[in-house]
């Protein structure tokens, strides 16, 4: 029982990480109707920027204050993500206003290839580490209930807390601020939003910047856990079914979907994996969401799609 609980908790924690990536997808989709296949590439490039910049700044400062260099690197990486957002809007999205959703999806696949290439040219393609002082020690709880207690990784717990805070901030941003309202208007209808005076271009920059910041936070959390390297970009692919399961337009959906898939993956890997040769983590989430969508094509919390001829 203790082991089962440990598996579930581990699943919940990694589910929070999936939810973080999924959040990036949902944000951009909610606010611009673009399914952003490039979110993984953005996580990669943000994490690479953070890892390398903090290393370089640390070198210039003489390695005296890791806090300061991390802070500076974070600021610079955030600025870098903003720059990417501006460029994506200027060079790509501005020319694709009112195009079909699938065209936009393919454009983001192009963007993701471009970012993969340029990120590794700028920052190198080895494995780098990010050290922002996340606690590494495991932590045993409920020791007097189960034998040996239940192991909880403090690192995962921190990541989960970061994710929760991020979600709260974003939910506030979307629901309450004028910019958030404008974002939702744009998502509903590009043309209608433009005609009531919402500057579409600026909104897109805001959205992609926010998505870039989410990518940066995700990159830092994932990167300090597993190291920064190219696989980070494919790790985001694992978060795609989360969005699909939760519904493309729903922030709570991303969280709940992330948790369901995190737990499902871990439990199925541990209890089902040995019978079929292991490694089913790779496709479990996709198959789960595929089967689920057969019964509810818009996802858990997604809006029902109504077609009119």
């Amino acid at each position: 029982m203790g082991f089962f609980l440990e598996t579930v908790i581990g699943g919940l924690m990694s589910g929070m990480l999936y939810a973080l990536v999924a959040l990036g997808f949902v944000l951009i989709f909610k606010a611009s109707g673009v399914f952003n296949f490039a979110q993984g590439a953005m996580v990669l490039i943000a994490a690479l920027a953070m890892a390398r910049l903090s290393g370089w700044i640390d070198g210039w400062l003489g390695g005296q204050s890791p806090w300061l260099s991390n802070l500076l690197a974070f600021a610079l990486s955030a600025a870098f993500m903003w720059l990417i957002a501006v460029l994506v809007e200027r060079l790509v999205l501005r020319h694709l206003v009112n195009q079909e959703a699938t065209t936009l999806l393919m454009a983001t696949i192009g963007i993701s290839y471009f970012l993969d290439g340029i990120g590794q040219i700028l920052f190198g393609s080895s494995v780098y580490s990010i050290n922002v002082g996340m606690p590494k020690d495991p932590w045993f709880v409920l020791g007097n209930w189960f034998e040996g207690g239940v192991l909880v990784s403090l690192e995962d717990l921190t990541a989960a807390i970061v994710a929760a805070v991020l979600v709260a901030v974003l939910a506030f941003f979307f629901q309450v601020t004028p910019v958030g309202r404008a974002l939702r208007a744009v998502a509903d209808d590009h043309q209608a939003a433009q005609s009531v005076g919402i500057p579409l271009n600026r909104i897109w920059v805001v959205v992609w910047t926010v998505a870039g910041l989410v990518a940066l936070v995700t990159g830092i959390v994932w990167g300090s856990k597993f190291g920064v390297q190219f696989t980070l970009s494919t790790a985001a692919l694992r978060a795609l079914p989360v969005v699909i399961l939760g519904g493309l337009t729903s922030v709570p959906g991303a969280i709940v979907g992330g948790l369901i898939i995190g737990v499902g993956e871990k439990v199925s890997e541990v209890y089902l994996g040995p019978f079929v040769g292991g490694g089913i983590e790779i496709w479990f989430a996709y198959m789960l969401s595929l089967v689920f969508l057969l019964f509810r094509p818009q996802g858990l919390f997604g809006e029902k799609i109504i077609d009119r001829v």
Partner: protein
């Protein structure tokens, strides 16, 4: 001046509806086929056959398959690499276990890819657009895993990769690059013609109606179930055959990694650059996809620069990313559209209107 249809009158419906209504086109295609079958194998060097023409032909074939699904029926799929893998492994298993003739192996590979395609196409009846695009990844990851982890598919080979023995086609050897090239070329010509005729026939029109607006198509009496599933079946059959050829003829020995997500994306890029909803565009796109890396390695060498391998790979990524976006913005119908514009201009040359 040479490309003009003046004086070519059609007096029967048959003549009016033939595949190439303009006489010059027919000559051109005939000349192209003769050149491809006779001149190329006689003159092309081994490097050209092995490294450029054979991959080009097989990728074109796979792109035709994907174009049927994405370009003609509008069901975007990011999992085509999986169906190539099914074709390859099914063909290989029929070869190893039952020792069937080569043609039967490859076609049965296509049949199994078709079955897998239909199975993964069933969700398309309910799931649409972006959701479907992502769920096709399920096929990709599931097949990647299955061929890596289920030992039956690789006949319990310890290393996980499999290889084909020497190929022979009805007693004729398919060993030298020229023989392999001709073998692949036959497949490409037959399937290209087949696909071209399908898309301009009744079924192709149904696909296009579904692509343009499925609800409206259903209202005017097109059965979405039939249209979508046939598109999935035809598409994955062709992709499966291409996968079998890729494994048998191009690679010889392979592992599941040969058909991973990057292969799927590569095929998607081919049809975007070449032209969605165009058979000839599949060829243009494949040519582009094969030639750009060759250019990227050779141009710096000619200029006297030596690029490290990983940098060249990153630049290749960037170039393809840039080209995708560029084509989507500047010419959404791809190279095929440029080709047809050029032909239009030639027909009215020298007068612009």
């Amino acid at each position: 001046m040479l490309y003009r249809e003046n004086g070519q009158f059609k007096s029967t419906y048959r003549a009016d509806q033939q595949i190439f209504p303009i006489r010059q086109d027919r000559w051109f295609i005939l000349a192209l086929l003769v050149a491809a079958f006779v001149l190329v194998p006689a003159w092309a060097t081994e490097y050209w056959l092995q490294a450029i023409l054979i991959p080009f032909l097989i990728l074109s074939l796979a792109a035709i398959g994907l174009n049927v699904l994405v370009g003609y029926c509008g069901q975007i799929s990011i999992g085509s690499g999986a169906f190539m893998a099914v074709g390859a492994y099914a063909a290989w298993n029929f070869g190893v276990r039952l020792d069937l003739p080569l043609l039967a192996q490859i076609l049965l590979g296509g049949v199994f890819a078709m079955l897998a395609g239909v199975a993964f196409g069933v969700p398309s009846l309910r799931i649409r657009g972006l959701y479907l695009a992502v769920t096709t990844l399920a096929a990709q990851f599931f097949m990647d895993w299955a061929f890596l982890r289920i030992p039956y598919f690789t006949n319990y080979s310890s290393s996980g990769n499999v290889s084909v023995p020497e190929l022979a086609f009805f007693g004729l050897p398919v060993v030298t690059p020229a023989q392999k090239y001709l073998f692949v070329l036959c497949f490409v010509v037959v399937f290209g013609l087949l696909a071209k005729n399908l898309v301009r026939g009744a079924i192709g029109r149904q696909w296009m109606a579904i692509r343009d607006m499925d609800v409206a198509a259903a209202v005017i009496g097109i059965r979405p179930v039939y249209a979508k599933l046939t598109a999935f079946a035809v598409s994955s059959f062709i992709i499966g055959v291409a996968g079998a050829l890729w494994a048998y003829v191009h690679l010889g020995s392979w592992e599941p990694l040969a058909f991973d997500l990057n292969r799927s994306l590569q095929l998607l890029f081919i049809i975007i650059i070449g032209g969605l909803g165009s058979i000839i565009g599949s060829f243009f796109g494949a040519a582009f996809m094969v030639l750009v890396p060759v250019l990227l390695t050779n141009v710096p060498r000619v200029l006297g620069l030596s690029l490290p391998v990983d940098l060249a790979a990153h630049i290749e990524h960037m170039v393809f990313g840039f080209l995708i976006v560029f084509f989507l913005i500047a010419e959404p119908h791809g190279l095929a559209r440029l080709w047809s514009i050029a032909k239009e201009k030639l027909r009215i040359w020298p007068f612009p209107h």
